[in-house]
Structures are given as structure tokens and as C-alpha cells.
Amino acid sequence: MLGLYVHIPFCSAICNYCNFNRGLFDAPLKELYVAALLREIRAAADSSAADTIYFGGGTPSLLEPPEVGAVLQACRESFDVAPDAEITLEANPETVTSERLAGFRAAGINRLSYGVQSFRDEELQRLSRLHTAERAAEAFAMARAEGFDNISLDLMMWLPQQTVAQWRESVDALVALGPDHASMYMLEIYPNAPLGDAMARGSWSVAPDDDVADMYLSGLDRMDSAGYVQYEISNVARPGRESRHNLKYWADGEWRGFGCGAHSTRGGVRWKNVSSTAEYISATAGRGALVSERRPLTPDEQLEEALFTGLRLSAGIDLQAVKMRYGVDVWARFGEELHPFVDERLLIYDGRSLRLTRAGMLLAHEMMTVFIRSTVR
């Protein structure tokens, strides 16, 4: 079943650590952009069955509820969207009001993912975020009040100046709110990020690797004891509330992305739309190429990517499924190289599946590289 992704490249402010495809909010541009999205979605119509829709960004919650409604309408007209589809909107706490939330819900959104990042104001300030911890809690309460029963909160660890204890404070605060789903990532300061300069100016530092490992493990422990189940390296959920959309990325699924810089994977081909908002808008109107990169996967690449993404899942790689789909006995092919990881208790091989232990999740890349045998370009 297909997942649909809709990219919204606008933000009210540019976070100093973010290198996703986004730009500053501009109302007239946004209107042109939404119109372009509708054109792209309609042009792609093929009535395929889809069971998730995900608005990612950027800050999708900057859209007006009727705009979200129009996009969803276009999706339903163009694809066979299941009645119980999971329809997620990424939202920043400072952008929502009860009215807007009610509007999103009425438009069809049934899952919210708040980019909270931290429940400590000084950390949020260092990240140049616009909200406070209090505002995040309010936004959560408002969403509950408007009937959202599937809310995810994002947290980041390894923030500038953050200690292990301070990270735990944020996790505790998250648990106290009781969301249905949580994502926990490590902040990666990409080269030339403005945050890098801010860190230099403020003489900020980040925790040593061992502490970050402790952050990760203690955060997950806390979530375990609060009744959440880890289903992916960076994601936990109450049973049944796993992100069905994101699972497609890891479980060798298919998705169709709309919007500038959106990625798609279908029929063994990965492709990406042009990144620039302006070029995207023109391209949907027939001027210029819409797709900027297109990569048909070789059978080997398909297998390799199915394996390294599958390893992110707590359930791991279903060896029988891989054998059925690719005709490859994974352990026969990679077992010799993987064995040391099994010995180190980073990886579990039980004959049916290959899955990471929690210590192994922290070192996932070490094992994922084993599967990479070819080089793309």
C-alpha cells in the first residue's frame, strides 16, 4: 500500500540547526505553492491504494486548514485513500490555536506530530526555536481538547550544553504529557550550520559520545517503563500507534512524495523533485523538469537498501520475507561479516530474523555498512 508525502517548505523562522528543504514563510508564494501541489497530485492520479498521508516540512502547520483540506481532497480524488488512513500533520507548537487545530481535524488530519525538541527553555533558545516548553505543553493540551487521539512528540538529544540529567528532564516532561508516540533523535550539527557559529560564540559544547549513548539508552528505558514500545531505532509508540507512514520507509515500502524536494520510491525506482520552490511551481505548470534525480535500483541495491533500512526496525529484518522477495539467503551471504556483531551482542540472529539489540541500535551504521557492497555513482 502506498504512502503519500506532501512537502511544505515554509517556516516562520529558520532554525539554526536545520538543513531540510525549507524557506521563510511568504503568504503569496504559499498560495502559488498549494496550487502547484494540487496540480502535481492530480497529474499523478492513478487510483493506487494508499493508506497514509503525511504533511512534512518545513512547517506544514503554517498552512491554513482549508488548504490542507484541498490537498487531502486532491489526494482522495487521485488515489484510492483508505477510509481509516493515517493522516499526519507536522506542527510547530507556536503555530497552533484551538481554532486552527479544530480546522485541521475537520479537514481530515487525524495525527499530529509536534516538533517539541526539548522541554527546557534554554535549550530551545539555543536552537533558535520560537516556542517555550510551556507553549509546547499547551499546544499538546489543545490538540487533545480538539479530539486528537494520536499525537507524536519529537525530542532531540545531544543538544548544545545538554547534560544527561537535563535530557532526562525533557523525557520526563514528555512522559508526563502522555503522547501516543515519540521520536528521539540526536542533533547532528551539519557543516556550516549557523548553530556551529552560535556554539563558537557562546563557547557551547556537546556531550561526549559516551554520555550521548547514555542519553539514548536512558531515554528509551524511561519510555519502556512508561509503557511505550520501541519499534524503530528512534521511535516509540503506545501499542498500535506506530507511525504507519514512517514504517514504509523502513519496511521496504512504497511512497509517493509531492512538493519541492520530495522523495518518492515506487516500482524499484527512487526519485526526487526539484528542490527549489520556484522551480517546482514552474515545473508543475509545465515549465522545466519536475524530477531532479532519478535512480532506478539494481536488484543488488534494492536488496542492500531493504536490509539496511529494515535493520532500523525493532522487529529487524524478516529473513523469510527477504528470501521470498529477493531470493537471497541473507545469513549465507552476510553471516560471516555479521558474526562479530552477534558475538558483541549488538545483533541478534535467531534463524528467522536479524535484529539489533539496543546497544546495537546505537551502532547501527557499523552493521548497515556490511550490507553495502555496491557504490552508487
Binding site: L187, D209, V212, G261, H263, K272
Partner: protein, 600 residues
């Protein structure tokens, strides 16, 4: 050709004192090459030399010069390599000359290298004309240079010529002095042929090209010649001179310099310093001073990717065609797999070979720490030469262990004497002489274990003297030393490629420094790595690289799997550049860690 009109000479100079520029001016001035058809510094033929600004081997050049006296002279400029690694080649080049220009940078003054080579020239009974170059520089101190020439080398500085090769000043004067002050070659044209080989190289079309200076007799095409050291006979296919382009001639008479092509297959057959004579009428005595060139510095060269082994062997074979002083033999390392133990004349020579392998042959190499040739007497009374720590017999079987010793001449401004003496002491040196010269310079002569010099002596000398001290050395013998083999163990397993031979008293400190350097160089891996330095069974230092606990688990943006993949490919590529020893991935630079210990 009338030998009275021949002058054979060299230019002795320190690196960067302007030798190549002066040679270029000679070419211009004598019309050998028009300025516009000259690429800067024609004499430095190899790319590598040009980049490093040092001359390893340049063709001799024949200059046709009409002097002020109206006579036409043939001036043969014979190049001398500019580095201590090639000291023997310098002596052979000088032996082919009657005179030498001693070129000194007016701003830098006399350096140890100049000094050493000037002594060599004096020993070879060469007439010396001092030339003070770069007098156009604002910082030029020609009077100071003159004082140094008199005081340090003992030359009469009144005869010194002031020049600026860059601007062309003094060039004519130098050429006139060459004609007037250098002697023509003496030699008997009717005596049996005797010619000195002072250079040779491999040419893919003509085979080995041998460069000779005729001492006695005449060398003719089609002559049957014998190379005396190797006792091999060849027929001369062609003779020629470099003017500077290769130009064929029918014969080379007494005092002439030129090249011989005689279907010689490998340069090892035409050894530098060997004598060429005629089979039919051989000379009784070869030209004196021939020595077999022996490699002094040894290191293991391994392909990073084991499948490149045969490629590496082919590359070494090709290099060896052109460089008889370089030696290699297969070696197997438990840590690094199949590779070669290679011998070099010195560290620069080693670097040149390494660089050529990487650049010209596209090899990706792991080099082990360089060492010297030890002499081991075992308890059964046999003497062995040991070029690798791995070949050192067990301590119980060693009756006597000797290491090569060099005599080093260090010339330095007085202010750095203290630290330099300390360095020499630290390196187990024995002071031989300490001469304070009037010109605020000190000439320090030390005997030092060659091994210590190979490690990091030169870098440290340069650092502590801010580049002012200069060094020249010759291997002068062996002395007995309490040396021990120190092993580095990674996760309990000795890594043979990391073993070194070290003085007992320095072992503890070296071991600690080495283990700690290894800890820095080996990246954290998924298990803890123990690093130990040990002598025999005794562990003298230990360090550990803690287990890696995390990779960065960042958010995946909207299903961009390609980006994740590229990240993993990059990580995998990084691992490929490491050598796997047991379960541990060791980066290439770790195998040279011993060189880096204590230098920063």
C-alpha cells in the same frame, strides 16, 4: 677533440642556493638553448625534483663556449645530487671533474651540506671557485659569506665571484674563470680505455643509458667494452653528448663526457663508479673508488588492498630498472599480508620511491616505520645483517648486537647550540668536535646511531633551530648497543608491522609514547581495544581504546533513503582505507606512528 680545451666541472650548492638557475644561465649564455625555448630549470628533469626543488639526477650538459681569448672550449657541467642520501653519487660525479663551483647563497651563507660537499671536492683534488649567489637580495651579505668561506672551508675568498644567477650578473665572469682556473683533463689518449661511469638510467627505447667520463684512451662506437665490476661485455651501439639535447658522436676522447648505449638491460649492470674498458685491450687498473651501493634504510611497503600485490610488484620492478640503489624483496606480515621489504639509500630516497609508486603507479600503500641495517652476532658465532625487527633472532640467541653509526656535521648559529647538543645527547650521540667560528656559527660534529636519525632527528633539529641549523652525515661504522625489540600488541596479538628495535634505556619511554600515540590514531570500534608495548614477555606500557558506543542517529528526511545510503557508502569507504588486524581496524598512519612520537 683537443683535451686542452675541455673543462669538466660541477656546481656544489645547498638546496635552494640557486644551482639550477645558474645552470640555466650557462645554457643561455653559451647559446645551448634560447631563453624562450627554455622551460624554467631545464636540468631538473624529473617532475618530482622540480616540485621539491631538489636535484636527484640531472644530465651532464655540454656547453660550447667561445672564451674572451678567442678559443672555443667545451665545458661539461656535471650535476651532483643535492641530498645526503646520495653522497656516493656525489663523490663519483666529483671524480669526473677537475673543478667545482661552490655556490653559496649570499643571504643564507655556508650550510652543512655545502661544507660536506666542498670537503669532498677538496678530497678529490678539485680546483674550487667560490661563487656568492643572490647578491641582488636586500638581505645579501657577501662579506659575511666570504668570511665563512675562509674560516669554515679555508678557501681564499679574494677569488670569490659575486653573482646573481636570477639576474644574470657574474655569469660571464664565472664562465671565464672556469676556462682560466680549472685545469684541462690530464689523461693519455693512447693508453687502454678507461672511463668512469657516474650515472646511468633506463630508457624504454634504448635500454640503459650510461654516462661516462673518459679518463684514458678513446671510446668508439662498435667497440667491445667491458664493465669491470660486473665483468660483463657489451658492444657500443651508440655514443653521444647532451648539448643539452642528446646528440650522437662517433667517439669520446680523453676528458670527454658523454653517454653510451650498449644494449645493457638493467641499470644494475652499469653501476655508478664502475670503469668501462675495452675487451681487446683492457686497462690494468679500474678507476679507484668504486663501491657497491648499499641500502641504508629499510621499510615494509604493503598494498592497502591485498589484491594490488602483483601490481605493486610490477611497479617495483619498473622502478628498480631505473634505480639500482633501491632494493626490494617479498615479505609477509601477519598484520599487513603480502608486501615487500624495501631498502633505500636514506629517508629522502624512501619518500621519493613511495611518492612515485603512489603518483605514477597509482598504488595505495601502507608503509611501516623505517629502520636501519643491524648487525647481529648469534651465539653460534655467525654474523647476520638484519633489516627488519621481525628478522631479529630471539634475545637468547644474540651474542652481540651492533647498529650503524653516522658522523654528523651540524652547522648552526650559536644561539641554538644548547638545545642541539641536548638533542644529540638524547639521541645517544657522542660529541666529536665543537668549533665556535668567528661568524657566530658553530660546527658540531657528533657520532650518532643512524636509527635515531632515521626516526625524527632531522625534523627536530630543524624545528629547534627554526630551520637555521643544517645537517650532513655519512655512515661511518657500527657500534655495539644494548638494543631490544619492542612489540606492540593490539588486543593481545603482536602486530609484527609495528615492532621496532630500540635502545634498552629508551624503551620504556618510547613504548609509552608509542602506545599512547596508537590510542589516538586507532578509532573507537565496537569493542574495547587493548594496546600494549612489550619487550619479550614484559609489558612496559598499556593503553586502551574504549569501545565505540554510538553512531549519530539523525532524522531521515521524508524518505530520503539515497542520502542514508551515501552516508553508509562513505563510512564503508573510510573502513577500506584501514588495515584489519585480527578484528581491529588500524588506520594507515598508525603504522608510521613511531615516527610521530614525541615530535609534536
Amino acid at each position: 677533440m683537443d683535451q686542452a680545451y675541455i673543462r669538466n666541472f660541477s656546481i656544489i650548492a645547498h638546496i635552494d642556493h640557486g644551482k639550477s638557475t645558474l645552470a640555466d644561465r650557462f645554457l643561455e649564455h653559451t647559446g645551448a638553448l634560447q631563453a624562450r625555448e627554455m622551460e624554467a630549470q631545464v636540468l631538473d628533469a624529473m617532475d618530482l625534483e622540480r616540485e621539491r626543488g631538489i636535484t636527484i639526477k640531472a644530465h651532464p650538459v655540454r656547453l660550447n663556449y667561445t672564451a674572451d681569448d678567442g678559443n672555443k672550449y667545451v665545458l661539461n657541467l656535471i650535476d651532483t645530487p643535492g641530498h645526503v642520501d646520495f653522497g656516493y653519487e656525489v663523490t663519483r660525479s666529483l671524480a669526473a671533474c677537475e673543478g667545482a663551483l661552490l655556490l653559496v647563497d649570499a643571504a643564507q651563507g655556508v650550510e652543512a651540506q655545502t661544507l660536506a660537499n666542498a670537503y669532498l671536492a677538496v678530497d678529490n683534488h678539485l680546483e674550487i671557485i667560490p661563487v656568492i649567489n643572490k647578491i641582488d637580495l636586500p638581505s645579501a651579505q657577501p662579506d659575511e659569506c666570504k668570511r665563512q668561506l675562509e674560516e669554515i672551508i679555508g678557501l681564499d675568498s679574494a677569488d670569490a665571484i659575486l653573482a646573481s644567477a636570477k639576474e644574470g650578473t657574474g655569469v660571464h665572469e664565472i664562465l671565464e674563470a672556469i676556462v682560466a682556473r680549472f685545469h684541462p683533463p690530464t689523461g693519455d689518449p693512447n693508453a687502454p680505455l678507461k672511463a668512469l661511469i657516474f650515472d646511468s638510467w633506463y630508457d624504454p627505447y634504448r635500454g640503459v643509458v650510461v654516462v661516462v667520463r673518459v679518463i684514458d684512451g678513446v671510446l668508439r662506437t662498435k667497440a667491445k667494452i667491458r664493465l669491470m665490476a660486473t665483468a660483463q661485455d657489451f658492444e657500443v651501439d651508440g655514443l653521444g653528448v647532451f648539448s643539452p639535447k642528446a646528440t650522437p658522436v662517433d667517439e669520446l676522447g680523453v676528458g670527454e663526457v658523454g653517454f653510451v648505449v650498449a644494449n645493457i638491460k638493467v641499470v644494475a649492470d652499469a653501476k655508478i663508479g664502475d670503469t668501462v674498458t675495452e675487451v681487446a685491450r683492457p686497462t690494468t687498473e679500474p678507476f679507484p673508488g668504486f663501491k657497491e651501493l648499499k641500502p641504508m634504510v629499510f621499510a615494509g611497503l604493503y598494498p592497502v588492498e591485498s589484491h594490488q600485490y602483483s601490481e605493486l610488484r610490477e611497479a617495483l620492478e619498473k622502478l628498480r630498472l631505473n634505480d639500482a640503489s633501491f632494493f626490494y624483496e617479498p615479505e609477509t606480515s601477519a598484520a599487513l599480508g603480502f608486501g615487500f621489504r624495501c631498502g633505500f639509500l636514506g629517508l629522502l630516497h624512501m619518500e621519493i620511491v613511495q611518492e612515485r609508486l603512489e603518483r605514477e603507479y597509482g598504488m595505495d600503500l601502507v608503509t611501516t616505520a623505517p629502520g636501519v641495517l643491524y648487525r647481529v652476532t648469534t651465539t653460534d658465532g655467525e654474523v647476520h645483517e638484519v633489516d627488519s625487527p621481525a628478522k631479529l633472532p630471539d634475545a637468547g640467541r644474540i651474542a652481540k648486537l651492533e647498529e650503524p653509526v653516522i658522523t654528523a656535521m651540524i652547522l648552526t648559529p650559536t644561539e641554538y647550540v644548547g638545545p642541539i647538543l641536548q638533542l644529540c645527547q638524547d639521541k645517544r650521540g657522542v660529541q666529536k668536535k665543537l668549533e665556535y667560528l668567528k661568524s657566530d656559527r658553530v660546527l658540531i660534529t657528533y657520532e650518532l646511531p643512524f636509527n635515531e636519525v632515521v626516526l625524527d632527528f632531522y625534523d627536530r633539529l630543524k624545528t629547534m633551530s627554526r630551520g637555521y641549523a643544517s645537517l650532513d652525515y655519512h655512515v661511518t661504522g657500527y657500534w655495539e648497543s644494548p638494543l631490544v625489540k619492542m612489540d606492540i600488541l593490539v588486543n593481545g596479538e603482536p602486530v609484527d608491522a609495528l615492532s621496532i628495535i630500540v635502545h634498552r634505556d629508551a624503551a620504556y619511554e618510547r613504548g609509552r609514547a608509542l602506545a599512547s600515540k596508537m590510542r589516538e590514531l586507532i578509532p573507537r570500534q565496537m569493542f574495547e581495544i587493548a594496546i600494549q608495548a612489550s619487550i619479550g614477555n614484559r609489558v612496559i606500557a598499556r593503553e586502551s581504546v574504549k569501545a565505540l558506543r554510538k553512531n549519530v542517529l539523525a532524522k531521515c528526511y521524508g524518505g530520503d533513503i539515497t542520502r542514508k545510503r551515501k552516508l553508509l557508502e562513505k563510512q564503508k569507504e573510510g573502513k577500506k582505507r584501514m588495515k584489519r588486524v585480527g578484528r581491529v581496524e588500524i588506520p594507515q598512519e598508525a603504522f608510521l606512528a613511531v615516527l610521530k612520537v614525541g615530535t609534536e
